[in-house]
Amino acid sequence: MNRYKEVLGKVFMVNQSGDSWLVALRVGVAVALIAKIISEFRFINDLYGSDGFVPNAISHFSQNPYLPSLQSIWHLAGGVLPESQFLIAFFLSQLLFAVFLFLGFVNRFSAFMCWFMQVVVFNSSHLTSYGFDAILLSLLFYALILPTGNYFSIDDLRKKTVHDRSMIPIFQKVLQIHLCLIYFVNGLSKINGHTWQEGSGMWDALNQPQFQSLLTPLLQKLFMIDHLPAVITWATIGIEIAFPFLIWVRSLNILILLSILLLHVFIALVFGLWLFAFVMIVFNLVAFGHILRKRKMPHSKNITSRIPTTHFF
Protein backbone atom coordinates (compact mmCIF):
# COMPACT_ATOMS: atom_id res chain seq x y z
CA MET A 1 0.00 0.00 0.00
CA ASN A 2 2.82 2.37 0.94
CA ARG A 3 4.66 1.50 -2.25
CA TYR A 4 1.48 2.22 -4.22
CA LYS A 5 1.13 5.59 -2.50
CA GLU A 6 4.78 6.37 -3.15
CA VAL A 7 4.49 5.65 -6.88
CA LEU A 8 1.28 7.69 -7.21
CA GLY A 9 2.86 10.48 -5.23
CA LYS A 10 5.90 10.53 -7.50
CA VAL A 11 3.78 10.58 -10.65
CA PHE A 12 1.53 13.38 -9.46
CA MET A 13 4.31 15.45 -7.94
CA VAL A 14 6.14 15.68 -11.27
CA ASN A 15 4.54 18.99 -12.02
CA GLN A 16 5.18 20.88 -8.86
CA SER A 17 6.18 24.51 -8.74
CA GLY A 18 6.62 27.37 -6.33
CA ASP A 19 3.97 29.99 -5.82
CA SER A 20 4.40 32.19 -8.88
CA TRP A 21 1.40 30.43 -10.47
CA LEU A 22 -0.82 32.10 -7.87
CA VAL A 23 0.32 35.48 -9.18
CA ALA A 24 -0.31 34.29 -12.76
CA LEU A 25 -3.80 33.18 -11.74
CA ARG A 26 -4.67 36.51 -10.11
CA VAL A 27 -3.25 38.66 -12.90
CA GLY A 28 -4.49 36.44 -15.74
CA VAL A 29 -8.05 36.19 -14.51
CA ALA A 30 -8.16 39.94 -13.78
CA VAL A 31 -6.95 40.75 -17.31
CA ALA A 32 -9.54 38.35 -18.80
CA LEU A 33 -12.32 39.98 -16.80
CA ILE A 34 -11.18 43.49 -17.71
CA ALA A 35 -11.02 42.53 -21.40
CA LYS A 36 -14.51 40.99 -21.23
CA ILE A 37 -16.08 44.05 -19.62
CA ILE A 38 -14.39 46.47 -22.04
CA SER A 39 -15.32 44.42 -25.13
CA GLU A 40 -18.96 44.14 -24.02
CA PHE A 41 -19.46 47.56 -22.53
CA ARG A 42 -21.26 49.10 -25.50
CA PHE A 43 -23.66 46.14 -25.63
CA ILE A 44 -24.52 45.81 -21.95
CA ASN A 45 -28.11 46.98 -22.33
CA ASP A 46 -28.70 44.64 -25.24
CA LEU A 47 -27.00 41.69 -23.56
CA TYR A 48 -28.09 42.11 -19.96
CA GLY A 49 -31.07 44.50 -19.85
CA SER A 50 -34.50 43.07 -18.98
CA ASP A 51 -35.71 44.36 -22.36
CA GLY A 52 -32.47 43.42 -24.11
CA PHE A 53 -31.84 40.92 -26.86
CA VAL A 54 -33.18 38.10 -24.69
CA PRO A 55 -36.21 39.58 -22.91
CA ASN A 56 -36.46 38.85 -19.20
CA ALA A 57 -39.61 36.82 -19.83
CA ILE A 58 -37.45 34.26 -21.67
CA SER A 59 -34.12 34.45 -19.81
CA HIS A 60 -35.98 34.14 -16.49
CA PHE A 61 -36.61 30.43 -17.11
CA SER A 62 -32.93 29.59 -17.39
CA GLN A 63 -31.92 31.35 -14.16
CA ASN A 64 -31.14 29.56 -10.93
CA PRO A 65 -33.81 30.84 -8.50
CA TYR A 66 -31.44 30.44 -5.55
CA LEU A 67 -28.90 32.85 -7.01
CA PRO A 68 -29.25 36.57 -7.62
CA SER A 69 -29.65 37.97 -11.11
CA LEU A 70 -28.98 41.48 -12.41
CA GLN A 71 -32.71 42.18 -12.43
CA SER A 72 -33.28 40.90 -8.89
CA ILE A 73 -30.45 43.11 -7.60
CA TRP A 74 -31.85 46.07 -9.50
CA HIS A 75 -35.28 45.47 -7.95
CA LEU A 76 -33.71 44.93 -4.54
CA ALA A 77 -32.00 48.30 -4.86
CA GLY A 78 -35.48 49.76 -5.25
CA GLY A 79 -34.93 50.76 -8.85
CA VAL A 80 -33.37 54.03 -7.66
CA LEU A 81 -31.54 54.30 -10.97
CA PRO A 82 -33.00 53.52 -14.40
CA GLU A 83 -31.97 49.99 -15.40
CA SER A 84 -29.53 51.18 -18.08
CA GLN A 85 -27.66 53.34 -15.54
CA PHE A 86 -27.73 50.54 -12.99
CA LEU A 87 -26.06 48.22 -15.52
CA ILE A 88 -23.37 50.81 -16.27
CA ALA A 89 -22.71 51.27 -12.55
CA PHE A 90 -22.64 47.49 -12.03
CA PHE A 91 -20.13 46.77 -14.77
CA LEU A 92 -17.96 49.80 -13.92
CA SER A 93 -17.81 48.56 -10.32
CA GLN A 94 -16.81 45.10 -11.52
CA LEU A 95 -14.16 46.68 -13.72
CA LEU A 96 -12.79 48.59 -10.72
CA PHE A 97 -12.65 45.42 -8.60
CA ALA A 98 -10.93 43.61 -11.47
CA VAL A 99 -8.24 46.32 -11.52
CA PHE A 100 -7.87 45.94 -7.74
CA LEU A 101 -7.55 42.18 -8.20
CA PHE A 102 -4.89 42.73 -10.86
CA LEU A 103 -2.91 44.84 -8.40
CA GLY A 104 -3.62 42.58 -5.44
CA PHE A 105 -5.19 45.46 -3.54
CA VAL A 106 -7.63 44.41 -0.77
CA ASN A 107 -7.27 41.19 -2.68
CA ARG A 108 -9.70 38.84 -0.97
CA PHE A 109 -12.52 41.38 -1.04
CA SER A 110 -11.77 42.35 -4.65
CA ALA A 111 -11.68 38.68 -5.68
CA PHE A 112 -14.97 38.10 -3.84
CA MET A 113 -16.66 41.03 -5.57
CA CYS A 114 -15.37 40.02 -9.03
CA TRP A 115 -16.52 36.43 -8.47
CA PHE A 116 -19.89 37.37 -6.95
CA MET A 117 -20.68 39.85 -9.73
CA GLN A 118 -19.69 37.24 -12.32
CA VAL A 119 -22.02 34.71 -10.68
CA VAL A 120 -24.80 37.30 -11.01
CA VAL A 121 -23.94 38.01 -14.66
CA PHE A 122 -23.62 34.30 -15.48
CA ASN A 123 -26.95 33.54 -13.83
CA SER A 124 -28.64 36.38 -15.70
CA SER A 125 -27.36 35.41 -19.12
CA HIS A 126 -27.21 31.62 -19.24
CA LEU A 127 -28.79 31.56 -22.69
CA THR A 128 -26.11 33.73 -24.26
CA SER A 129 -23.12 32.47 -22.32
CA TYR A 130 -20.48 30.17 -23.75
CA GLY A 131 -17.36 28.27 -22.68
CA PHE A 132 -15.40 31.40 -21.87
CA ASP A 133 -17.90 32.44 -19.17
CA ALA A 134 -17.72 29.08 -17.40
CA ILE A 135 -13.91 28.97 -17.44
CA LEU A 136 -13.69 32.60 -16.29
CA LEU A 137 -16.05 31.86 -13.41
CA SER A 138 -14.01 28.80 -12.42
CA LEU A 139 -10.78 30.81 -12.41
CA LEU A 140 -12.42 33.63 -10.42
CA PHE A 141 -13.62 31.01 -7.94
CA TYR A 142 -10.05 29.77 -7.56
CA ALA A 143 -8.72 33.34 -7.32
CA LEU A 144 -11.13 33.84 -4.42
CA ILE A 145 -10.51 30.67 -2.43
CA LEU A 146 -6.74 30.44 -2.98
CA PRO A 147 -4.19 32.80 -1.42
CA THR A 148 -3.63 34.78 -4.62
CA GLY A 149 -3.00 38.06 -2.82
CA ASN A 150 -0.08 36.78 -0.76
CA TYR A 151 2.57 37.27 -3.43
CA PHE A 152 3.62 40.20 -5.64
CA SER A 153 0.61 42.25 -4.58
CA ILE A 154 -0.04 45.61 -2.96
CA ASP A 155 -1.41 43.71 0.05
CA ASP A 156 1.89 41.82 0.30
CA LEU A 157 3.87 45.05 0.17
CA ARG A 158 1.72 46.69 2.84
CA LYS A 159 1.94 43.88 5.41
CA LYS A 160 5.00 41.71 5.06
CA THR A 161 3.86 38.50 6.67
CA VAL A 162 5.19 34.97 6.42
CA HIS A 163 2.61 32.80 4.70
CA ASP A 164 1.96 29.14 5.26
CA ARG A 165 2.88 27.50 1.96
CA SER A 166 2.24 23.91 2.90
CA MET A 167 -1.02 23.66 0.95
CA ILE A 168 0.16 25.41 -2.20
CA PRO A 169 1.16 22.22 -4.09
CA ILE A 170 -2.25 20.72 -3.36
CA PHE A 171 -4.03 23.88 -4.53
CA GLN A 172 -2.15 23.70 -7.81
CA LYS A 173 -2.90 20.00 -8.12
CA VAL A 174 -6.63 20.80 -7.98
CA LEU A 175 -6.27 23.20 -10.92
CA GLN A 176 -4.20 20.66 -12.81
CA ILE A 177 -6.79 17.90 -12.35
CA HIS A 178 -9.59 20.31 -13.27
CA LEU A 179 -7.80 21.26 -16.50
CA CYS A 180 -7.12 17.61 -17.36
CA LEU A 181 -10.81 16.89 -16.83
CA ILE A 182 -11.78 19.70 -19.21
CA TYR A 183 -9.63 18.35 -22.05
CA PHE A 184 -10.51 14.74 -21.45
CA VAL A 185 -14.27 15.35 -21.40
CA ASN A 186 -14.07 17.65 -24.42
CA GLY A 187 -11.93 15.22 -26.42
CA LEU A 188 -14.22 12.33 -25.51
CA SER A 189 -17.27 14.33 -26.56
CA LYS A 190 -15.66 15.17 -29.92
CA ILE A 191 -14.95 11.50 -30.65
CA ASN A 192 -18.71 10.92 -30.75
CA GLY A 193 -19.30 13.65 -33.32
CA HIS A 194 -19.47 12.55 -36.95
CA THR A 195 -17.79 15.72 -38.32
CA TRP A 196 -14.82 14.97 -36.08
CA GLN A 197 -14.85 11.28 -37.00
CA GLU A 198 -14.99 12.14 -40.71
CA GLY A 199 -12.13 14.58 -40.26
CA SER A 200 -14.09 17.58 -41.53
CA GLY A 201 -14.54 19.35 -38.17
CA MET A 202 -11.85 21.97 -38.69
CA TRP A 203 -12.90 22.64 -42.28
CA ASP A 204 -16.53 23.16 -41.21
CA ALA A 205 -15.54 25.51 -38.41
CA LEU A 206 -13.15 27.48 -40.59
CA ASN A 207 -15.86 28.23 -43.16
CA GLN A 208 -18.58 29.45 -40.81
CA PRO A 209 -19.32 33.17 -41.03
CA GLN A 210 -18.90 33.65 -37.28
CA PHE A 211 -15.33 32.31 -37.44
CA GLN A 212 -14.15 34.06 -40.60
CA SER A 213 -10.95 36.04 -40.24
CA LEU A 214 -8.18 37.53 -42.36
CA LEU A 215 -6.51 34.13 -42.27
CA THR A 216 -9.54 32.27 -43.65
CA PRO A 217 -8.68 32.56 -47.40
CA LEU A 218 -5.11 31.43 -46.73
CA LEU A 219 -6.24 28.46 -44.66
CA GLN A 220 -8.90 27.53 -47.22
CA LYS A 221 -6.09 27.23 -49.77
CA LEU A 222 -3.93 25.29 -47.34
CA PHE A 223 -6.78 22.91 -46.59
CA MET A 224 -6.86 21.95 -50.27
CA ILE A 225 -3.80 19.78 -49.59
CA ASP A 226 -5.02 16.19 -49.55
CA HIS A 227 -5.82 14.82 -46.08
CA LEU A 228 -4.62 17.97 -44.29
CA PRO A 229 -8.08 18.94 -42.93
CA ALA A 230 -8.50 15.42 -41.52
CA VAL A 231 -5.00 15.40 -40.03
CA ILE A 232 -5.59 18.74 -38.27
CA THR A 233 -9.04 17.64 -37.08
CA TRP A 234 -7.82 14.34 -35.67
CA ALA A 235 -4.71 15.96 -34.22
CA THR A 236 -7.00 18.30 -32.25
CA ILE A 237 -8.87 15.37 -30.72
CA GLY A 238 -5.61 13.50 -30.15
CA ILE A 239 -4.03 16.40 -28.28
CA GLU A 240 -7.09 16.87 -26.07
CA ILE A 241 -7.45 13.19 -25.23
CA ALA A 242 -3.71 12.71 -24.67
CA PHE A 243 -3.24 15.85 -22.57
CA PRO A 244 -4.50 14.42 -19.24
CA PHE A 245 -2.11 11.48 -19.59
CA LEU A 246 1.02 12.88 -21.24
CA ILE A 247 1.18 15.99 -19.10
CA TRP A 248 2.35 13.78 -16.21
CA VAL A 249 5.11 12.14 -18.26
CA ARG A 250 8.32 14.04 -17.65
CA SER A 251 9.76 13.51 -21.13
CA LEU A 252 6.57 14.47 -22.99
CA ASN A 253 4.89 17.09 -20.83
CA ILE A 254 6.55 20.06 -22.53
CA LEU A 255 5.50 18.78 -25.96
CA ILE A 256 1.86 18.27 -25.01
CA LEU A 257 1.71 21.62 -23.21
CA LEU A 258 3.14 23.48 -26.20
CA SER A 259 0.72 21.63 -28.51
CA ILE A 260 -2.30 22.65 -26.48
CA LEU A 261 -1.06 26.26 -26.21
CA LEU A 262 -0.60 26.30 -29.97
CA LEU A 263 -4.14 25.00 -30.40
CA HIS A 264 -5.49 27.91 -28.34
CA VAL A 265 -3.38 30.43 -30.28
CA PHE A 266 -4.88 28.92 -33.46
CA ILE A 267 -8.40 29.31 -32.01
CA ALA A 268 -7.67 32.96 -31.22
CA LEU A 269 -6.11 33.86 -34.55
CA VAL A 270 -8.26 31.81 -36.91
CA PHE A 271 -11.65 31.68 -35.20
CA GLY A 272 -11.38 35.04 -33.47
CA LEU A 273 -12.36 33.54 -30.10
CA TRP A 274 -9.59 35.47 -28.43
CA LEU A 275 -11.23 35.79 -25.00
CA PHE A 276 -11.83 32.05 -24.78
CA ALA A 277 -8.33 31.32 -26.05
CA PHE A 278 -6.80 33.77 -23.59
CA VAL A 279 -8.57 32.34 -20.57
CA MET A 280 -7.60 28.79 -21.56
CA ILE A 281 -3.97 29.82 -22.04
CA VAL A 282 -4.06 31.41 -18.58
CA PHE A 283 -5.52 28.20 -17.12
CA ASN A 284 -2.76 26.14 -18.78
CA LEU A 285 0.04 28.43 -17.68
CA VAL A 286 -1.29 28.62 -14.14
CA ALA A 287 -1.60 24.84 -13.87
CA PHE A 288 1.44 23.71 -15.83
CA GLY A 289 3.40 26.79 -16.93
CA HIS A 290 6.32 25.98 -14.65
CA ILE A 291 7.14 23.03 -16.93
CA LEU A 292 8.33 25.54 -19.54
CA ARG A 293 10.35 27.47 -16.98
CA LYS A 294 11.94 24.46 -15.36
CA ARG A 295 13.48 23.24 -18.60
CA LYS A 296 15.58 26.36 -18.76
CA MET A 297 17.04 25.76 -15.30
CA PRO A 298 19.29 22.73 -15.03
CA HIS A 299 19.23 22.83 -11.22
CA SER A 300 15.46 23.19 -10.87
CA LYS A 301 15.31 20.00 -8.80
CA ASN A 302 17.23 21.68 -6.03
CA ILE A 303 15.02 24.72 -6.16
CA THR A 304 11.73 22.82 -5.92
CA SER A 305 13.07 20.61 -3.16
CA ARG A 306 13.30 23.68 -0.96
CA ILE A 307 9.56 24.29 -1.24
CA PRO A 308 7.71 22.63 1.61
CA THR A 309 5.33 20.06 0.21
CA THR A 310 2.34 18.20 1.47
CA HIS A 311 1.88 14.94 -0.32
CA PHE A 312 -1.41 14.53 -2.04
CA PHE A 313 -1.55 10.80 -1.52
Binding site: F122, G131, A134, N186, G201
Partner: protein, 157 residues
Protein backbone atom coordinates in the same frame (compact mmCIF):
# COMPACT_ATOMS: atom_id res chain seq x y z
CA UNK B 1 -6.00 18.81 10.75
CA UNK B 2 -6.77 22.10 8.98
CA UNK B 3 -4.95 20.86 5.88
CA UNK B 4 -6.89 17.58 5.91
CA UNK B 5 -10.19 19.43 6.04
CA UNK B 6 -9.06 21.71 3.20
CA UNK B 7 -7.92 18.75 1.11
CA UNK B 8 -11.27 17.00 1.68
CA UNK B 9 -13.14 20.14 0.58
CA UNK B 10 -11.00 20.44 -2.54
CA UNK B 11 -11.65 16.79 -3.40
CA UNK B 12 -15.36 17.43 -2.92
CA UNK B 13 -15.05 20.42 -5.24
CA UNK B 14 -13.38 18.30 -7.93
CA UNK B 15 -16.10 15.67 -7.52
CA UNK B 16 -18.72 18.34 -8.16
CA UNK B 17 -16.86 19.56 -11.24
CA UNK B 18 -16.70 15.94 -12.42
CA UNK B 19 -20.46 15.57 -11.93
CA UNK B 20 -21.01 18.76 -13.93
CA UNK B 21 -19.22 17.33 -16.96
CA UNK B 22 -22.06 14.91 -17.54
CA UNK B 23 -19.75 11.89 -17.64
CA UNK B 24 -21.84 10.44 -14.83
CA UNK B 25 -25.52 9.84 -15.47
CA UNK B 26 -27.09 12.62 -13.40
CA UNK B 27 -30.32 10.67 -13.00
CA UNK B 28 -28.42 8.16 -10.85
CA UNK B 29 -27.59 10.91 -8.38
CA UNK B 30 -30.22 11.14 -5.60
CA UNK B 31 -32.79 13.72 -6.69
CA UNK B 32 -32.47 15.59 -3.40
CA UNK B 33 -28.90 16.49 -4.35
CA UNK B 34 -29.73 17.88 -7.81
CA UNK B 35 -30.57 21.37 -6.53
CA UNK B 36 -27.47 21.80 -4.32
CA UNK B 37 -25.19 20.39 -7.06
CA UNK B 38 -26.67 22.71 -9.70
CA UNK B 39 -26.24 25.62 -7.28
CA UNK B 40 -22.62 24.72 -6.58
CA UNK B 41 -21.84 24.34 -10.28
CA UNK B 42 -23.40 27.75 -10.95
CA UNK B 43 -21.11 29.44 -8.42
CA UNK B 44 -17.94 27.52 -9.30
CA UNK B 45 -18.21 27.52 -13.10
CA UNK B 46 -18.89 23.80 -13.50
CA UNK B 47 -19.76 23.02 -17.10
CA UNK B 48 -20.23 20.04 -19.46
CA UNK B 49 -17.10 21.29 -21.32
CA UNK B 50 -18.53 20.34 -24.68
CA UNK B 51 -16.91 23.17 -26.66
CA UNK B 52 -17.19 22.50 -30.42
CA UNK B 53 -18.59 19.06 -29.66
CA UNK B 54 -19.96 16.52 -30.22
CA UNK B 55 -20.03 18.23 -33.63
CA UNK B 56 -19.14 21.56 -35.13
CA UNK B 57 -22.67 22.98 -35.25
CA UNK B 58 -24.10 24.16 -38.53
CA UNK B 59 -24.32 27.89 -37.97
CA UNK B 60 -27.79 29.35 -37.81
CA UNK B 61 -28.32 32.53 -39.81
CA UNK B 62 -31.29 34.68 -38.85
CA UNK B 63 -32.40 37.32 -41.34
CA UNK B 64 -35.01 39.95 -40.61
CA UNK B 65 -36.84 41.87 -43.35
CA UNK B 66 -38.20 45.00 -41.73
CA UNK B 67 -41.00 46.95 -43.42
CA UNK B 68 -41.63 50.49 -42.19
CA UNK B 69 -44.85 52.48 -42.34
CA UNK B 70 -43.97 53.73 -45.85
CA UNK B 71 -43.60 50.19 -47.12
CA UNK B 72 -39.80 50.40 -47.41
CA UNK B 73 -37.96 47.19 -46.62
CA UNK B 74 -34.56 46.88 -44.92
CA UNK B 75 -32.72 43.75 -43.93
CA UNK B 76 -30.81 42.87 -40.78
CA UNK B 77 -28.81 39.71 -40.32
CA UNK B 78 -27.76 38.04 -37.11
CA UNK B 79 -24.72 35.82 -37.20
CA UNK B 80 -22.72 37.23 -40.08
CA UNK B 81 -20.44 39.67 -38.28
CA UNK B 82 -17.98 39.12 -35.47
CA UNK B 83 -18.07 40.80 -32.12
CA UNK B 84 -18.89 39.74 -28.59
CA UNK B 85 -22.55 40.63 -29.05
CA UNK B 86 -22.90 38.60 -32.24
CA UNK B 87 -21.01 35.72 -30.71
CA UNK B 88 -23.47 35.57 -27.85
CA UNK B 89 -26.55 35.94 -30.04
CA UNK B 90 -25.20 33.19 -32.31
CA UNK B 91 -24.82 30.96 -29.31
CA UNK B 92 -28.45 31.54 -28.36
CA UNK B 93 -29.76 30.81 -31.87
CA UNK B 94 -27.62 27.69 -31.95
CA UNK B 95 -29.01 26.59 -28.61
CA UNK B 96 -32.59 27.11 -29.79
CA UNK B 97 -31.83 25.23 -33.01
CA UNK B 98 -30.41 22.33 -30.99
CA UNK B 99 -33.63 22.05 -28.99
CA UNK B 100 -35.75 22.50 -32.14
CA UNK B 101 -37.37 25.79 -31.15
CA UNK B 102 -37.16 28.16 -34.15
CA UNK B 103 -40.35 29.91 -33.03
CA UNK B 104 -38.67 31.38 -29.94
CA UNK B 105 -35.64 32.30 -32.05
CA UNK B 106 -37.92 34.15 -34.48
CA UNK B 107 -39.68 35.98 -31.64
CA UNK B 108 -36.35 37.08 -30.14
CA UNK B 109 -35.06 38.33 -33.50
CA UNK B 110 -38.33 40.18 -34.25
CA UNK B 111 -38.30 41.75 -30.79
CA UNK B 112 -34.74 43.01 -31.37
CA UNK B 113 -35.70 44.45 -34.78
CA UNK B 114 -38.82 46.23 -33.52
CA UNK B 115 -36.68 47.73 -30.77
CA UNK B 116 -34.01 48.95 -33.18
CA UNK B 117 -36.44 50.23 -35.81
CA UNK B 118 -39.03 52.28 -33.98
CA UNK B 119 -41.10 52.91 -37.12
CA UNK B 120 -41.28 49.28 -38.21
CA UNK B 121 -44.70 48.00 -39.26
CA UNK B 122 -43.81 44.35 -39.74
CA UNK B 123 -40.82 42.05 -39.51
CA UNK B 124 -40.44 38.85 -41.50
CA UNK B 125 -37.93 36.54 -39.89
CA UNK B 126 -36.15 33.92 -41.97
CA UNK B 127 -34.05 31.29 -40.20
CA UNK B 128 -31.62 29.13 -42.10
CA UNK B 129 -28.60 26.94 -41.64
CA UNK B 130 -25.26 27.82 -43.17
CA UNK B 131 -24.25 24.89 -45.32
CA UNK B 132 -20.52 24.43 -45.87
CA UNK B 133 -19.56 22.28 -48.88
CA UNK B 134 -17.12 19.44 -48.29
CA UNK B 135 -13.49 20.03 -49.32
CA UNK B 136 -14.11 17.84 -52.36
CA UNK B 137 -17.17 19.86 -53.43
CA UNK B 138 -15.38 23.12 -52.68
CA UNK B 139 -12.59 22.10 -55.05
CA UNK B 140 -15.26 21.54 -57.72
CA UNK B 141 -16.40 25.12 -57.23
CA UNK B 142 -19.38 24.63 -54.93
CA UNK B 143 -20.05 27.62 -52.66
CA UNK B 144 -21.48 27.87 -49.17
CA UNK B 145 -25.23 28.44 -49.01
CA UNK B 146 -28.00 29.18 -46.55
CA UNK B 147 -30.76 26.62 -46.30
CA UNK B 148 -33.88 28.32 -44.94
CA UNK B 149 -36.03 26.14 -42.71
CA UNK B 150 -38.32 28.51 -40.86
CA UNK B 151 -40.03 31.80 -41.60
CA UNK B 152 -42.55 33.89 -39.71
CA UNK B 153 -43.92 37.41 -40.03
CA UNK B 154 -44.66 39.62 -37.04
CA UNK B 155 -46.80 42.76 -37.24
CA UNK B 156 -46.53 45.72 -34.89
CA UNK B 157 -49.56 45.94 -32.64
Amino acid sequence: MKNKILTTLLLLHLSMIFLGTGLVDFSKVPSGLHGPIAWYLAISGGHPYNFFSPDIPTQVIVRCYITDTNGLETMETFGETKNTYELRTNYLFQLLDNVGDPETAAKIAAHACFKRHAGARSVRVSIGRFVVPSVKDYKRGEKSSISEFYTQTFAHE
